[in-house]
């Protein structure tokens, strides 16, 4: 087995099916999308010009970036806390953390979105409970707005944000933390001045993955946003299937892909891919 894997040809052969699939199913059709963006409805740069002047497109772009940024901060912070427990907790704590990280992977994104609707809607569990204990008199608007979208997306992305952090925390030299404490630093201070800076690459990787994922979210914002908090993927869908304005939809897609590509390029200049898993 080792002989086969260490052989360059062998490795290339093993990767070939995936590469072929990516080329046929993604790269080739995407070239078609690029072509539409320059040719529909009339050849030229007209659709890109429209992007710059269309108020709706711009507001959706800005909303998408804002939601992605907030979701990134929320997800990475929550993931950081759970990863600390997962990597450094007692065996029992580790088991619970692992359970919390893995279970979301087994539940479909659609189910989870409707689960949040059930929890957050005006007559949902949270509002009903808060009203029954007399904490509020009118239901809070927790869903069909940006708040609901952020909650749902963060919940989906936290498990993904965990892995780069776990990788960084596992490779950290325990003795450095002991050294800090031996030199007189409290646990709290050691955490903030030594532990967190030493997991910097994990934080960057985790934030990048979360941010890039957030930009392309479709199902969660469509359900939890209730049409009021449209994000970029939903806008593309509307332009292609409902307007129909294929040229503009294609141009938005190309801009999104180029933007994500640029972000990835910046990420991999700073962080090696193996630090992310």
């Amino acid at each position: 087995m080792r002989g086969i894997l260490s052989d360059r040809m062998g490795a290339a052969l093993l990767m070939a099916p995936l590469l072929l699939f990516l080329v046929l199913a993604y790269a080739w059709p995407f070239l078609g999308v690029v072509k539409w963006s320059f040719t529909l409805p009339t050849p030229g740069l007209g659709q890109y010009g429209a992007l710059l002047t269309d108020d709706l497109v711009q507001s959706v772009f800005i909303r998408t970036l804002r939601i992605a940024a907030i979701v990134t901060i929320v997800s990475v912070s929550a993931a950081y806390a759970i990863t600390v427990v997962w990597v450094r907790g007692t065996p029992a704590q580790r088991l619970i953390a692992e359970f919390c990280i893995l279970v979301p992977f087994w539940i479909s994104v659609l189910t989870r979105a409707f689960g949040w609707v059930a929890l957050l809607s005006n007559r949902g569990l949270i509002n009903t409970w808060l009203q029954s204990i007399g904490f509020i008199s009118e239901p809070l608007t927790l869903v069909r707005n940006e708040f609901g979208v952020i909650v749902g997306m963060s919940h989906f992305l936290i498990p993904f944000a965990v892995f780069p952090l776990a990788s960084a925390m596992r490779s950290l030299d325990e003795r450095v933390l002991l050294a800090a404490r031996g030199l007189g630093s409290s646990r709290m201070r050691t955490f903030w001045t030594v532990f967190v800076p030493m997991t910097r690459s994990g934080i960057i990787g985790s934030a990048m993955i979360t941010f890039v994922f957030s930009l392309g979210f479709f199902v969660t914002p469509a359900i939890l946003g209730g049409g009021r908090s449209v994000m970029i993927a939903e806008l593309i869908y509307l332009r292609i299937f409902q307007s129909p304005d294929w040229g503009l939809g294609a141009a938005i897609s190309v801009v999104l892909v180029v933007f994500v590509g640029a972000l990835m390029a910046i990420l991999f200049r700073d962080v090696k891919p193996k630090e992310l898993v």
């Binding site: 003795r175 002991l178 404490r181 031996g182 030199l183 007189g184 630093s185 646990r187």
Partner: protein, 364 residues
């Protein structure tokens, strides 16, 4: 370990540590004197590092008490003991520059910026790292990282400096240099040093006292020449260097020393036969034995045949077999070895009475 600038005096009283059913350290009682350089020596798993971690406060002993300058610190957490500590592999903060690493313990202690700057500057100069202040640990050589670790551990003037095998990652020549440096730092700071190593020559070269550990027990404590020349037991004798062991019969006290029969010849020792009577082992270091044409009456000696030699440059190591089959190694001048070998027959091994010592028969 509290007052800065003042060497601490530490007493360990009946310290024990168990990890589950494994006994890492057993009933250890040891006084560490103010300003002394104590080495904890032993093979891996002997308990020496566990004891160091207990001193630092990273490991809680299962039983026993730890006093620092007479104050019970057994339950005091590591960050409040603030012993300076140098780890194996140095454990520098990888995201901080040399300067920031050294400043860390002072910042934790909320010293003024001016004070920190002054003391960090002095310390960096003292360990010879001027010009490297802004570098990250990853940009330094092993020896330089070692110096940063020492500077960081000493800058806040701890009462005791704990060192866990600090030289194990360095090559031999650098090791010698760092050992000399550490001796100098010990003299300059006057702080109590507790140093862990498994290298016996390092222990003998550096310390004012050596404590030898095996299987979680402290076997013997003493000055380097004391433990080397008068080991209490077989483990200490063998661990500290090469040693010849000859079976001895009829051991009995004689005046200030003792006598016995070695291969049917009367020999005398200056050490007292306190713990041993009858059958025992006579132990002599290779460099304390010499080759002679014959042994005079009343002189310690046995007959042997030279079998092999190893040229070591300054001297030759000569392997011999005694008449009754005991294997002996001696370190002799080169020409003596050549002569002994060329004869191919019997020579005499002699040794002064004060250089032979008695060990109990069998076991440790």
């Amino acid at each position: 370990m509290q007052q800065p600038g003042r060497a601490a005096e530490i007493k360990a009283i009946g310290i024990g540590k168990s990890f589950g059913s494994f006994r890492a350290l057993d009933k250890l009682t040891l006084d560490i004197g103010r300003g002394e350089f104590l080495t904890l020596l032993g093979p891996s798993g002997s308990g020496k590092t566990t004891f160091l971690m207990i001193l630092a406060g990273f490991v809680q002993p299962t039983e026993g008490k730890l006093l620092s300058d007479g104050i019970d610190i057994t339950d005091r957490p590591a960050e409040q003991r603030a012993a300076g500590m140098v780890f194996q592999g140095y454990a520098l903060f990888p995201h901080m520059s040399v300067e920031q690493n050294v400043a860390f313990p002072l910042k934790v202690r909320k010293k003024s910026a001016a004070d920190i700057k002054k003391r960090v500057g002095e310390m960096i100069e003292r360990v010879g790292l001027v010009g490297h202040e802004k570098k990250l640990p990853s940009q330094l050589s092993g020896g330089q990282q070692q110096r940063v670790a020492l500077a960081r551990a000493l800058v806040f003037e701890p009462g005791v400096l704990l060192l866990d095998e600090p030289f194990s990652a360095l090559d031999k020549s650098l090791r010698g240099q760092m050992q000399a440096e550490m001796k100098r730092l010990h003299q300059e700071t006057g702080t109590t040093f507790v140093f862990v190593t498994h290298d016996q020559s390092e222990a003998l070269a550096l310390s004012s006292r050596v404590a030898i550990f095996n299987h979680g027990k402290l076997l013997q404590v003493g000055a380097p020449d004391e433990v080397y020349d008068r080991p209490d037991n077989r483990f200490v004798a063998e661990f500290l260097g090469e040693i010849n062991m000859l079976p001895l019969k009829g051991v009995q006290p004689d005046g200030n020393g003792s006598t016995g029969l070695c291969e049917d010849r009367a020999v005398s020792m200056h050490c007292k036969a306190e713990k041993v009577r009858g059958d025992a082992i006579l132990a002599i270091r290779p460099e304390h034995m010499s080759i002679a044409r014959e042994a005079a009456v009343g002189e310690n000696g046995i007959a042997a045949t030279a079998t092999a030699s190893t040229y070591l440059g300054a001297a030759t190591k000569l392997d011999l077999t005694t008449r009754q089959g005991a294997k002996v190694t001696v370190s002799v001048p080169n020409e003596v070895a050549a002569a002994a070998l060329s004869k191919g027959n019997s020579v005499w091994l002699t040794w002064p009475a004060e250089k032979g010592f008695l060990l109990p028969n069998g076991g440790q």
